[in-house]
């Protein structure tokens, strides 16, 4: 037994030798992992804790995540309580004070934009609400600009030697992003004013960007799964105010939107929601291009 333990300890030390990269980034969601790579290039090594197939609200605090957080220099997360069900446990068990809340190594994207849907009533009877506002800011690509700027600043703060490098990559990203934004916005023009239904209250920023009009959500309260009675109400609302299509994130259970799609006779549109959510959403640019493409395709159905 003792021999095995000593062997394990030796193996641990051997594995501990860090791979070369100035900053080790623990990204909570794929979109922030992708942004960290855009800004950090080869000066950072990015580990993304979740995939596009996972619900970022509900992640198990798995041993692998704790092990990765142990050696991270910075966490790049959404914030606004999106990760409250799992990240605090990982931070606590990792014992890594560099990434503790409030440290320069704890970066929260939602702090750099104006959050919408700030609740006026903080009460769990209202469902899964977030005190700071709706955290799903990545559904609007314009949000990437202030976040990219802030992230470059934070990388520079932690790794001063490469401050120029990060600023340069950020400027380059901003240029390419603005061009892409103009393209997507132009392409998405037919979507302005279109009525839609949504499965989870996760699309307010997308609606804001493209001028989509949300008729009804398929959940009675944020994060509360719909009962069949509630879905009947939804169908009634959709009869009074027809929607063009119903959208859901790739990670979500397809049953509520399939049910409504079938009974209201409108297409269900699956959006990537984050990088890796669909095969086409390979990187940040692919994410929004695919989102616009899928919405436009929904319009034609």
């Amino acid at each position: 037994m003792r021999k095995i333990l000593i062997g394990a300890a030796l193996a641990a030390v051997a594995l501990a030798t860090p791979a070369y990269a100035n900053l080790s980034v623990f990204a909570c969601e794929p979109e922030w992992g992708a942004l960290a790579s855009e800004i950090g290039g080869d000066k950072v090594s990015v580990y993304t804790a979740t995939t596009g197939a996972q619900d970022p609200h509900q992640i198990q605090a798995r041993p692998s995540l704790i092990a990765k957080a142990r050696s991270a220099d910075i966490t790049v997360c959404d914030g606004a309580e999106l990760e409250i069900g799992w990240l605090p446990m990982i931070l606590q068990q990792s014992g890594n004070s560099r990434i503790a809340a409030g440290q320069p190594g704890a970066f929260e994207a939602s702090r750099y934009v104006r959050l919408l849907e700030q609740p006026t009533r903080l009460d769990r009877a209202e469902g899964d609400i977030h005190a700071a506002g709706n955290p799903h800011i990545q559904t609007d690509p314009r949000m990437m600009l202030p976040v990219a700027k802030a992230l470059a600043g934070r990388f520079a703060e932690l790794d001063g030697a490469n401050a120029q490098f990060y600023a340069g990559r950020e400027a380059n990203f901003e240029k390419r992003w603005n061009a892409a934004l103009a393209k997507w916005t132009a392409e998405a023009a037919p979507l302005r004013g279109v009525n839609i239904a949504v499965q989870h209250h996760a699309w307010i920023y997308l609606e804001n960007w493209l001028g989509l009009h949300e008729v009804v959500p398929l959940e009675p309260k944020p994060g509360v799964p719909p009962s069949s009675g509630y879905l009947a109400e939804v169908l009634q609302k959709l009869q009074a105010t027809p929607a063009k299509f119903v959208i859901r994130a790739a990670y979500e259970d397809d049953r509520p939107s399939s049910f409504v799609s079938e009974h209201a006779g409108i297409p269900a549109v699956v959006l990537p929601f984050t990088v890796g959510g669909t095969d086409q959403a390979k990187d940040l640019f692919g994410l929004y291009q695919d989102t616009v493409n899928r919405l436009l395709a929904g319009l034609k159905k």
Binding site: A11, A16, Q60, P63, S64, V113, R124, V224, Y251
Partner: protein, 467 residues
């Protein structure tokens, strides 16, 4: 006919509304211009295009106003133009608001109240209804002299334990946690009261105070965090359901991609299986190693090996006294599965722990030496959101304590305790839970069938759960 009449009404109405709209519009335009000035430096390029659109809107509004001034004859046209002017102006306003939305928000105002530093307070409420073929308070785990917390909830309605916890950071280096529970008989007990370090270098964490030992898998999880309504048989028999005591813990997390954690503890030795704070109040020592990782996108595991040594000085178990040493080793394995790592809709947790121990010393003054073992295996499957189903099997065994103790509690009378449990759970949310649990228990000489209905709710800022 009806349509024409309605249209006429609408036009007339809109015509009369048009005049005040123009006045408001003029005021709005002034406000927009003021906003433009302040934002000009940051958004000069954007502003230029917006200004162009504004100017156009103004022209159109002016044209509309003039058209309206000509009155009656072309009310329809004026209304249409005014509407389009309003729309354009609105579009400009929206564009501006979007421009503002992109600006970083002002720093949030600090909370002014003097209770802003209050700790996070969470409460756990519990309730049981138990129907059982035999009195749950009068059954023994054959072969084991168990502690006072090893039993099942009372027959009929009861509360079990209601818990209140207070957690907060004390300063940048320390956090504090206090948890007390109120039992059925209104007695208050301090379950945990510890401080823990936050910023030790090198992956070390220290914990001091009263806390639940990191031994085994279930032990350091609070009862409301267990998958079943009661602890499995080995925990009840070996650890009085849960071992917590006053002491010191050190943990070290290895800097590897494979989760690898080592821990050691030293305790006062006042809680079962220890007693009497032997060795001048350092009666229990433990050591454990945890390791785990992802197997693939959908599944992950955690394995643990733990050792607990405790000394008992006159341990009182229902009027019988034990003095001696207790050694216990626990091998734990937990496996979790969720499709693509997304547990929202379906997920499965399998876990199993193997207990092997030895107790030796004097039981009611009689020398003895006894080997003890136990194990359980359980699985809980969430088959759709909010609903899960579970099964558990547990088994215990002891060696013969010798002829002098035959017929005592340590003698299993040829009957090894075992129990099989089935569970159906409905979660109202992640904070509320209803459980129906059925157990066929053969831990005493005569089997006991127990049906347990339990609710558990958590309110307040309840922290994230362990794996």
């Amino acid at each position: 006919m009806k349509f024409i009449a309605r249209s006429l009404c609408t036009f007339t109405l809109l015509y009369f509304m048009a005049a005040p709209v123009f006045a408001d519009e003029a005021a709005d335009l002034a406000v927009i211009r003021a906003q433009l000035n302040t934002l000009q430096h940051e958004y000069s390029s954007k502003i230029r295009s917006l200004e162009a659109r504004l100017a156009k809107a103004e022209d159109e509004a002016k044209a509309a106003r003039e058209a309206a001034a000509e009155a009656g004859k072309s009310a329809t046209a004026a209304q249409a133009t005014a509407q389009s002017a309003t729309l354009t102006a609105e579009a400009s306003t929206t564009a501006l608001q979007q421009a503002i939305a992109e600006a970083p928000p002002p720093p949030p105002a600090p909370p002014a109240s003097n209770n802003a530093f209050n700790p996070g307070i969470a409460a756990v409420l519990n309730g049981f209804y138990v129907a059982s073929s035999r009195d749950t308070q009068n059954t023994h785990l054959r072969g084991f002299a168990t502690g006072d917390e090893a039993g099942l909830p009372l027959r009929g309605f009861s509360l079990g334990e209601s818990e209140v916890s207070l957690a907060a950071n004390i300063d940048p280096s320390l956090m504090g946690f206090l948890d007390f529970s109120i039992k059925d008989d209104n007695s208050l007990s301090l379950e945990e009261a510890y401080i823990q370090t936050k910023d030790l270098p090198g992956g070390f964490t220290l914990k001091a105070g009263r806390f639940l030992s990191g031994t085994g898998y279930l032990n350091e999880r609070h009862a409301h965090d267990w998958s079943f309504s009661d602890a499995p048989l080995p925990y009840r028999a070996f650890l009085n359901s849960q071992y917590g005591d006053d002491g010191l813990q050190v943990r070290w997390l290895a800097p590897t991609d494979q989760f690898l954690e080592f821990g050691a503890e030293i305790f006062r030795g006042d809680a079962y299986p220890a007693a009497g704070a032997a060795h001048t109040g350092q009666g229990t020592v433990t050591a454990f190693v945890h390791t785990g990782n992802d197997i693939n996108d959908s599944s992950s595991y955690l394995a643990a090996l733990s050792y607990l040594h405790s000394r008992a000085d006159n341990r009182d178990t229902s009027g019988h006294f034990f003095t001696g040493n207790d050694d216990l080793g626990i091998l734990s394995f937990v496996y979790k599965w969720a499709p693509a790592g997304n547990p929202t809709v379906r997920n499965l947790t399998l876990s199993s722990e193997l207990f092997y121990g030895h107790e030796g010393g004097f039981y009611d003054g009689t020398a003895f030496s006894q080997n003890r073992f136990g194990w359980y295996a359980q699985g809980v499957y969430q088959f759709m959101p909010q609903w899960s189903f579970g099964l558990r099997y547990a088994d215990l065994g002891t060696s013969n304590p010798g002829p002098a103790l035959s017929g005592s509690l340590l003698d299993d009378l040829g009957h090894a305790p075992r129990a099989a449990t089935a569970l159906l759970e409905y979660d109202t949310s992640e904070f509320g839970r209803l459980r129906l649990q059925y157990t066929h228990d053969e831990s005493d000489l005569k089997p006991n069938d127990t049906l347990m209905f339990q609710y558990t709710v958590i309110y307040g800022p309840h922290g994230a759960h362990r794996y």
